[in-house]
Symmetry: C2
Subunit: 398 residues, 2 copies
């Protein structure tokens, strides 16, 4: 029997999904599990978005243009315009989810062995795409004490080698919820210009910016040829299953390369493009309501977390995640214990261990990520469970 590839062996398993069997076992025992572990919102997909697909009347489910339907890309330029981002429809290539946008960006810009600096903690799947592209992720650590602000410029510069080709940020951030300030974006601009680096910016949570302005990397002047934005409709319209994202850049050389990757896989999904196009037509107040809902959940979650003795959670400025420090020995053990050995009034909580979001070994052992994708009533119940759990957890730190 031939051996599988080293790449296949090195590919990291999902750090979140490994807890799934424990959650399933808990549910079989009749325990209610509050899922704060994944970014799957409970918010309904807007009806006009689903109806656009349900009311479609084509007869052949054909390949679309490899860059996505032109009508959709043209409409997207209007969407970006609302954020003062001026792009032409030819500067947008529609992808199969934000996931494919990241993979295409890595492959088009980076060769095997090239390095990309990423502030940690970071979205764990960046590791996976890096292994696929044979690229090295170099973490620069941000700390919970500063609320996971951008590390100082000196920390980046210490890590830059001849192999460094790019910096990757997520803004607002998954998993920390941190929203980069204009000053921080200017720092990134400077580093990228000085060291001739690409700036990859994952802007999946653009609308969910609560405290302060969202600065798109596409608006950094003089950086037009360096910036590649990874986008997705998944969180924005609660349409994770659509698998529609985009690569957006002003750099024509990158666009030409990404287009070749897009052609090889033929086209993004056709049904979902119909949904995505309808989503652009939603009234502006759609986001006002959604944002208000998430902000009130955040406020509740963070205040309840900080009331639990020994817990610290900085207030995240955006997205729908919070990273909290807990008085525990080991987040992986704790999250498994919550599902396997604990319940309070037949309820428990599923969290994502912090370790999965760090590339530096040993970091994140006292941290967990919470996705506030449940309504306030359930968030309150989940935090009650968490408080009770921390009272009795055998690995509690003093």
């Amino acid at each position: 029997m031939p051996n599988i590839s080293e790449r296949g062996q090195h590919m990291p398993p999902s750090p979140i999904r490994k807890l799934v069997p424990y959650a399933e076992a808990a549910k079989k025992k009749g325990v209610t599990v509050y899922h704060l572990n994944i970014g799957q919102p409970d918010i309904e997909t807007p009806k006009p978005v689903l109806d656009a697909v349900r009311n479609s009347n084509f007869k052949i489910l054909e390949y679309s243009h490899s860059a996505g339907n032109e009508s959709y890309r043209r409409k997207l330029t209007g969407y970006y315009k609302k954020f003062d981002i001026t792009v032409d429809h030819t500067e947008i290539i529609v992808t199969t989810g934000g996931s494919e946008a990241i993979l295409f960006g890595f492959m088009a810009c980076l060769d095997p062995g090239d390095e990309v600096i990423v502030p940690e903690p970071f979205y764990a799947n960046y590791n996976g795409f890096a292994v696929e592209a044979e690229v090295k992720v170099v973490p620069v650590t941000s700390g919970i004490e500063t609320g996971f602000a951008l590390p100082p410029i000196g920390d980046f510069e210490k890590l830059i080698t001849p192999k460094t080709k790019a910096i990757l940020i997520c803004n607002p951030n998954n998993p920390t919820g941190y929203l980069y300030s204009r000053a921080e974006m200017e720092v990134l601009r400077e580093i990228c210009l000085k060291h001739n680096l690409f700036l990859f910016s994952d802007e999946a949570y653009r609308e969910f910016s609560y405290d302060g302005e969202n600065i798109s990397a596409l608006n950094l002047s003089g950086l037009e040829n360096n910036v590649v934005v990874f986008d997705t409709i998944s969180k924005r319209y609660s349409a994770c299953g659509a698998r529609i994202g985009a690569v957006v850049t002003h750099n024509r050389v990158i666009l030409d390369a990404v287009m070749k990757f897009a052609q090889a896989r033929l086209s993004p999904p056709s049904f979902a493009q119909i949904a995505a196009e309808a989503a652009v037509d939603l009234p502006d107040d759609y986001f006002d309501e959604i944002k208000e809902e998430y902000q009130s959940r955040r406020d509740l979650l963070v205040s309840l977390l900080n009331k639990i003795p020994g817990v610290f959670c900085p207030n995240p400025g955006g997205a729908f995640y919070a990273m909290a420090r807990l008085p525990i020995d080991d987040a992986d053990k704790f999250c498994q214990w919550l599902l396997e050995a604990f319940s309070y009034e037949q309820q428990t909580v599923m969290l994502a261990p912090g370790t999965g979001f760090y590339a530096t070994p040993g970091l994140g052992k006292q941290e967990v990520r919470l996705a506030y994708v449940l309504n306030r009533e359930n968030i309150a119940k989940a935090m009650e469970c968490l408080g009770k759990a921390l009272e009795v957890y055998p690995g509690r730190l003093q």
Copy 2:
């Protein structure tokens, strides 16, 4: 401005799409273009498949399981059973089109620099996935004189090096339409066992086997750990835009690795999985009708081609493609000339130049691929155009 990757530069552009601007220009001049250049069938997607999506009534478009909905995978085991292929639902990982299945298979089994032997002419996008995975495609040439039969075992063995990890076939074949016989499949079995190679088998056109039996690589005894099948619903149900495929293998180590790639990109598209599941429930006579339609198109196309002086087209046993040898100097020039400089009664034909399907430089210059995805009336008109074109083409060979 930072340089893009070498991978992005080496990535081949679609050999078919480069003719698109010429086709668009022809249409603007009022010329009807018969598209025999791409595998986009004109056959309607079965209504129950589209209706399943249109009648769906979920409220949140959620991520599915990374391996695809379990209900769909369980149903697929029944589909495979009809071909005497016995697989468990855990041996199927649903992918975003056959394209992603190929990429996952390459990444899970092959490392950068590894070699995969592919009978040429072959589906041009294999080159693209090979560049993405940094894998080397080694062509073994099949000839039009034998109808593109499997090259002799000695031709394969001459190409095997310590870097050779796999053989990739497409059966029935795109672009040649060749259907591998049981004896040929046994030859492949022997080579793979003797040299400890993976056998990747792209079985996108399984149903479209006209002359003789379709032997799935999954049915080769003793090769259970070597075989990885790439599958797709695109052609089978005229559902190219769904983007639903599958990796199917009995090898658990490969399944575990592919699953990690699948988790990194979260899930295949949700709307399309509903369509795909409904497709499995179509009555068995659905394929009888479709197959009869394609077979009658093939019979017409091949007989008309061989009536044109100087043209030779072997009779393809499956799929919906034919490779024909034309009396021309250069297929790329000819295909462009057809769109740019020729018309007969305000009509012309778009073909795929043979060169795009060969990795060996210089091969395929007298060959074109024709996809019989148009109805008989249009095929007849297209062949009339082609005959007239060959009479006046300036680069005609004597």
